[in-house]
Amino acid sequence: MGVKVRIPTPLQKLTNGKAEVECSAKNIAELVDALEKDYPGIKERLSEGGKVRRFINIYVNDEDIRFVNKEETVLKDGDNISIVPAIAGGRLKNEVERLGT
């Protein structure tokens, strides 16, 4: 038992291409640590100093954890977790170049 976690496309490189993974955790902070154990590098992408990054949202079922109990939001068996980053479409090549200048 545990929870199911939907991994967004940009992070699937870290989960060997898997779009959904299973995890066991009591709250979001534990979940991030559990994911890091299985998929090293994911914690840094998701969070900074123990806080979920501000351009990434985590949902427990359809509730945004920022409006529940943030990283302390409690999980129960069978919950569906979604990690949803801001996305902005196609022009990433120029975007990266321009942002670099």
């Binding site: 940009p10 501000r54 359809d62 509730e63 801001a86 996305i87 479409g89 990433l92 990266v96």
Partner: protein
Amino acid sequence: MEFTEDQILRYSRHILLPEVGGEGQERLLNAKVVLVGAGGLGSPVGYYLAAAGVGTIGVIDNDRVEISNLQRQIAHNSSRIGVLKADSAKETYETLNHDVNVVTHKERLTSANIKNIIKDYDIVVDGSDNFPTRYLVNDACVMLKKTLISAAVFRFEGQLMSIYPGDGPCYRCLFEIPPPPGMVPSCQEAGILGAVTGVIGTLQATEVIKAILGIGEPLKGKLLLWNALDMSFRTVKVPKNRECPVCGEHPTIKELIDYEHFCSMSH
């Protein structure tokens, strides 16, 4: 308003719908909608709005058509390579429907010009392909209280949300700040299945038409997530964030932030 015989035929499948009828069709013909970008999303949005008889369609785009656009940007075609996308889209949409007047805005959106460009439209459609524009459009729409139908796509995924400033959350309520440059996926990851832009753009056009007609439930306070690979549609709740920097109780963003400024801030 008197419909011509041609209009009665052209819009008959709309007029037959009790939710639209002659009155709704008249509303569509009088509506003014502006598209931010005539690319993967803007193309199908404009196409369906033109077919629906949305009377005034603004197109904001200062790029030219490239061959690599044609895999998804269906407002353009092989004979238009090198043509400004705004001009190409105007020709496509006005050829489809002479009732439509396409107004081209062949400039890059900045904090200096955005308010002036969008102020005369009822609804703004964001199909932009970069974060600075996305946040600029959101903030300007909040400040001018313009309905904003916002969508984005990435590889096999799409996101869609309808923003009614003053009555529900904005894009910054959802994602407070854009990712810093280092967190943006590299160009090699930035592929997109062409049809994905068609699905999300068509959903976006549907939200625009619903907003004009005032029918159904808008995607307000909700984010629609679609994944092409498993064909899953999901919605999650987007509460209004009281601490939102632009529409919250104590906004800290009172002036538009523009592209260059945005960059220097993120350093």
